[in-house]
């Protein structure tokens, strides 16, 4: 039964990769690549249960984190063209800081 899930995820991966290669706009590509990353996390999780090596779940977690960070990084650069300034205008940032810190 794990096999069914793995095959389904592999099919999903291939379709997502196709969209990443074809995607007319850059956002299509990024969305497809983000989806690819998420599905890789699931693939590793299912794979670790399939083989019984449950320490592989650590890897799935790392993947999930890294995938998020790289998507944030690419979007950040795309909407700003640089890495210096914060991703927000000051009004919002002050408001958020008060509530969360």
């Amino acid at each position: 039964m794990y096999a069914v899930a793995i095959v389904a995820i592999l099919v999903t991966l291939s379709l997502a990769l196709a969209r990443a290669l074809m995607g007319p706009t850059v956002f299509d590509r990024i969305a497809a690549i983000n989806m690819f990353g998420t599905k890789t996390v699931l693939l590793i999780a299912v794979f670790s249960f399939l083989t019984g090596r449950l320490d592989l779940l650590d890897m799935a977690l790392v993947y999930a984190m890294i995938n998020f960070i790289s998507v944030v990084a690419v979007l950040r650069l795309f909407s700003h063209k640089d890495f210096h300034s914060p991703a927000e205008n000051n009004v919002i940032s002050v408001k958020v800081r008060r509530r969360w810190f």
Binding site: V11, L15, N34, M35, T38, L42, F49, A64
Partner: protein, 106 residues
């Protein structure tokens, strides 16, 4: 036994939802509708598959890690989708519209 069946159902359903989403990003006409396909199925697929795995693991460290992965995906995946869509809107990408603008169909 019941848990087994339940977890198999979850795994298969999760795989199915994933494939549906993947077909969706090819069938839908423009970026925003594709975002709808990926955004919704990503979360549901992760939920179902990880739930299936968690049921298999029972109460153990593995189940805890699976839950952690799920929580992480559940928070970050919609956030990434949102950020992507808002970046697309701000960069001037317009949703594709159908014949009548008021209905907004494509």
């Amino acid at each position: 036994m019941v848990l087994d069946i339940l977890s198999w159902v979850c795994l298969v359903a999760g795989g199915l939802v994933g494939v549906v989403g993947a077909v969706g990003i090819h069938r839908f006409p423009d970026f925003f509708s594709r975002q709808h396909a990926t955004g919704t199925t990503d979360t549901l697929c992760a939920l179902l598959i990880l739930l299936g795995l968690g049921l298999q693991a029972g109460l153990s460290l593995a189940a805890f890690k699976v839950a952690l992965i799920f929580l992480f995906l559940f928070i970050t995946s919609p956030a990434a989708t949102h950020a992507l869509a808002s970046a697309a809107v701000h960069s001037g990408l317009d949703p594709k519209r159908g014949r009548t603008d008021s209905e907004g169909q494509s």
